[in-house]
């Protein structure tokens, strides 16, 4: 553990322009190390005390042919001295490591924005591969922008020539040279990155030294060179951030920690069973390292086996957890039905991605809400939660564990590729501030049968194999309400179905009332969101409220069952707008449940909403 205390706020160097926030996008070939570069810039920015949000955006191919547009890997960061809620709409600065990156990303750059381009990789072949006939750096097509065209490749080679690296290895330091340059542009400290490089390349001190040298060289060049007109250093004040110990956290890591925190609070073992799939795999990777925290991970042969193993583990008195993305969740469906009918605790994580079928594995979407709430054979209710941000994944995971155990039910956690990969600073909580999660294993044989229920929650008893006197058989065949034995009695099936619904409905009494994030509790328009649309919705609503528009933001964590007051809350608004990264799912569930005239705002491009898109939709409804 290393803890960097923030430096005293330094006075702003006079030649730097102070800005409230900035959006920077690093773009290059898949092999250019843009995700690492972005990750380091994120840390340095966090250390500088800014609030921030990131958006890694990379192709599904591991190594797409070099130089192609579909091989472009990008990393976007929005940081500022104010609260940052999204990774930003249009960017202020674009780093284009090759022509393909420029081609793909230019459309997202603000008019007049800064482009930093490596002329060394704008050769004829590179241009052709990206589909350019003329060199855009030279043909005047970038006149509306502030262009910093440098031969970064050559400058990097020069900077590391004394380290004895091969040409290929030397060229790989390009990203660090560029990072050094951008560090100067925003007045960032290089030390944490230098430390990180030395640790990362522990076995190759020459490579570490070359990377540090490249970064320093980039920094020096930025500091000393005559920058083009309008290009200069910037300064972003530290944000007003609550005191605490911070780290950056991705949704995948926060979710893994949250699940482990949940079983820690319940003081039981977690058996996490999964089968690799993008973008869910990271949760498996993170949990696999937590073996010393009573977490056993199992990479199963497929998603069906993963779900089944998790349920088997829950039968055995551990908490079974399984995770996947849409296609894998589809495979788990039958097993989830068994967990519903045998009333065993289970947490299912769905890191949603663009579909149907394989769709766009690395691109985000929110189109599995129906799958979670409704997507099973027969009447099979369960509980569904959704995380709104990377850090929120931690809280939602604990809540999922709590509900799964208390109600002996499967609980879905919906997250998505965007939240999973995106990072934000996290005020690390103290685990001792969280309520313990009581686990009541039945041990008393007196009057026992496996489907006896808690009068209040309707949860059945958790009786674990190994307990003398509680031997029992459970399974997917309908069970008698009064004995747990198999039963085909018509009245019993009605009663058991009703009970399964009543149990899940009852969770609504055990969750916080639905609040309003921003704005009044009634009025002209409620914008209702769930999951990762939180950032753009909250910024859009906040922006328009300062302009006097009567709009409120409601964000739903408990997707099923809904909080008890949600219907009444929605009925207090003239209009309800539901932005979702799908073709309209929550909106229809709300309409069906509450008969409210909710309208959808839908986007399925694989990219998160832009703030402006939501602002436009709000305006269209309030200003006509």
């Amino acid at each position: 553990m290393s803890n960097t205390a923030l430096a005293e706020k330094s006075s702003v160097p006079s030649h730097r322009e102070t800005v409230e926030s900035a959006v920077v996008r690093f773009a290059g070939d898949s092999g250019d190390g843009m995700q690492l570069t972005g990750g380091q810039f994120t840390l340095a920015t966090a250390f500088a005390g800014n609030d921030l949000s990131t958006f890694p955006d990379f192709p599904a191919e591991i190594r797409a042919p070099a130089g192609t547009t579909f091989g472009v890997s990008s990393f976007q960061i929005n940081f500022g001295s104010r609260v940052i809620k999204t990774a930003g709409d249009a960017f202020d600065m674009l780093i284009a490591m090759n022509p393909a990156a420029l081609k793909v990303e230019l459309g997202g750059l603000k008019q007049g924005g800064i482009i930093i381009a490596d002329t060394g990789s704008f050769g004829e072949r590179d241009l052709r591969k990206a589909g350019y006939t003329e060199n855009p750096l030279e043909d005047g097509s970038l006149d509306g922008y502030r262009l910093v065209a440098l031969d970064i490749s050559k400058l990097t080679m020069e900077a590391v020539k004394d380290t004895g690296l091969s040409k290929q290895e030397a060229l790989r330091c390009k990203n660090m040279w560029t990072l050094g340059f951008v560090y100067w542009m925003y007045g960032r400290d290089r030390k944490p990155t230098a430390d990180w490089l030395i640790a990362k390349f522990g076995k190759r001190p020459d490579v570490a030294a070359a990377n540090v040298a490249a970064m320093d060289a980039g920094h020096t060049v930025a500091e000393t060179m005559e920058l083009p007109d309008g290009v200069h250093g910037f300064h972003v004040d530290a944000a007003d951030i609550a005191p605490g110990t911070y780290r950056t956290v991705t949704g995948a890591d926060a979710l893994a920690w949250g699940l482990a925190a949940g079983t820690h609070l319940a003081d039981i073992k977690m058996v996490f069973a999964s089968y690799p799939i993008t973008p869910a795999s990271q949760i498996l990777h993170s949990l696999s390292k937590m073996i010393d925290h009573n977490v056993v991970t199992f990479q199963a042969e497929d998603e069906i086996a993963a779900a089944c193993a998790a349920i088997g583990a829950s039968f055995g008195g551990s908490l079974g957890v399984t995770s996947s993305s849409g296609p894998g969740i589809a495979l788990k469906t039958e097993a989830i039905g068994l967990a519903i009918s045998t009333e065993l605790p289970l947490v299912i994580v769905n890191s949603q991605r663009a579909g149907p079928s394989t769709g766009m594995p690395t691109k985000t979407e929110q189109s599995d809400l129906y799958q979670a709430v409704l997507g099973r054979n027969a009447d099979s209710p369960l509980c569904v939660l959704a995380a709104r941000s990377p850090a929120d994944c931690f809280e939602v995971a604990i809540e999922a564990v709590r509900i799964a155990i208390k109600y002996m039910t499967p609980v879905f956690i919906l997250t998505d590729g965007y939240i999973g990969n995106a990072a934000e600073p996290w005020n690390i909580p103290d685990i001792n501030d969280y309520a313990k999660i009581p686990v009541n294993f039945r041990t008393d044989p007196e009057g026992f049968h496996p489907f006896m229920r808690d009068a209040d929650t309707l949860a059945r008893v958790w009786a674990v194999p190994g307990t003398p006197g509680l031997e029992h058989r459970i399974g997917g065949i309908e069970r008698d309400y009064d004995s747990g034995n198999i039963s085909y009695d018509p009245g019993n099936h009605q009663k058991m179905t009703d009970t399964r619904f009543a149990k899940i409905d009852g969770i609504a009494r055990d969750i916080p009332a639905q609040g309003v994030e921003d704005g009044a509790t009634s009025g002209k328009l409620a914008v209702v969101g769930w999951g990762s649309t939180y950032g753009p919705i909250s910024r859009a609503v906040a922006n328009l409220r300062t302009q006097g528009l009567d709009v409120s933001h409601i964000h739903i964590r408990h997707i099923w069952p809904f909080p008890e007051n949600l219907g009444d809350l929605l009925k207090g608004f003239d209009q309800v707008l539901v932005p979702e990264m799908n073709h309209g799912q929550l909106v229809n569930v709300l309409r069906a449940e509450y008969l409210v005239p909710a309208e959808g705002l839908n986007k399925v491009s694989g990219q998160p909403f832009k703030i402006i898109e939501i602002e436009d939709a709000i305006r269209a409804r309030l200003e006509n």
Partner: protein, 340 residues
């Protein structure tokens, strides 16, 4: 579970539930149930520590009739449930019960991985060469030409051999029994139970309703002694009414041949001695089919190795600190910074 006082001896009856058994009259499953209940009594199984896990099918109803813990799950996936259960609670004694469709058709993938992982449990495959519960369609073990509702002109595809599949999947214990042979079956099951790792047992089970007599070609009284061989470790592989027949290894063709001792110059020393630790011999035995060769019964292969759950346990133990680790430390590992 630590059992402190020596438990009273249970009888087979103590392992019977109060549930009405719902198999068809005459179904081979009854005999297997009896055999298993006897075995449980013989081995001194503790009901609270024993779990029967099954998939779906007639065979898979089994757990409802055994007075231990039981989990009747979904079609084909029992191995995965059992694996998760074992990871949660390695101390449990788990039996998986499966039909040939359940184990080799929809569940073939899971069975393969169960065997290669070597999870410590007993896997009983009730092979009736038919889908019983869904009313008689042919199964992956049905012989070519099997007429069934879905193959009115006879099935076309080649059948799978359960034991050959198991050996090919890396099983370290492979045995066979017959439902009706109550003298032999409990012994095989007790051996399976004693083996650490996945113990795979194929039990030929007569489906009275949809495939009656399908094993008659080697179980019928008049042919049984010539078409069955009970293999025993360290003993010559002999069969026949008076043990006059034997198996000889043809080293030229690397195959087994049935010979008669005393005929054509064959004497006792020519007969192959069973070595249950030898995977090659086991594989040759598993491949044998009547009428050319007898069906091999008993323990074909037993070569214990470390089980998956044991390895997981070792890994966990080697990473478990003496004191419960501080969760707050986990959250703060890596790069952090403070704001005050």
């Amino acid at each position: 579970m630590n059992v402190v006082t020596p438990p009273e001896k249970l009888t087979p009856k103590d392992f019977a539930t109060d549930q009405e058994v719902r198999w068809c009259p005459g179904c081979g499953d009854y005999a297997i149930l009896k055999g298993v209940q006897k075995t449980l009594a013989d081995i001194g199984a503790r009901p609270e520590n024993t779990v029967f896990v099954s998939g779906i099918g007639c065979a898979a109803r089994f757990p409802y009739y055994v007075k231990t813990y039981g989990f009747h799950t979904i079609h084909g996936r029992a191995p995965a449930f059992a694996t998760g259960l074992k990871l949660a609670n390695p101390g449990l004694d788990i039996w998986v019960v499966s039909g040939d469709g359940d184990a080799l058709s929809i569940g073939g993938n899971h069975l393969f991985h169960l065997l290669r992982r070597n999870v410590d449990l007993q896997f009983l495959l009730f092979n009736n060469e038919i889908y019983g519960l869904t009313k008689g369609q042919y199964s992956p073990t049905s012989r070519q030409g099997t007429r069934s509702p879905s193959t009115p002109w006879g099935s076309l595809d080649n059948p799978a051999s359960a034991t050959v599949f198991a050996l090919g999947s890396g099983a370290r214990f492979v045995a066979r029994g017959i439902d009706s042979n109550q003298k032999h079956l409990p012994d095989v099951l007790a051996r399976a139970h004693a083996h650490k790792g996945t113990s795979f047992v194929e039990i030929f089970q007569n489906c009275k309703v949809y495939n009656d007599g399908v094993f008659e070609n080697f179980t019928a009284r008049d042919v049984a002694s010539d078409r069955q061989i009970y293999v025993e470790h360290g003993k010559p592989l002999t069969f026949g009414k008076d043990g006059e027949k034997g198996l000889r290894l043809n080293t030229q063709t690397l195959s087994l041949e049935a010979v008669v001792i005393g005929e054509n110059g064959v004497n006792e020393s020519d007969i192959l001695v069973h070595d249950e630790t030898n995977r090659m011999i086991a594989t040759l035995l598993a491949h044998m089919e009547p009428p050319a060769l007898p069906v091999a019964l008993g323990v074909l292969y037993s070569a214990p190795g470390q089980s998956y759950d044991d390895e997981v346990g070792d890994l966990v133990r080697s990473h478990t600190p003496a004191e419960k680790p501080d969760f707050n430390k986990l959250l703060r590992a890596g790069r952090t910074w403070t704001v005050d």
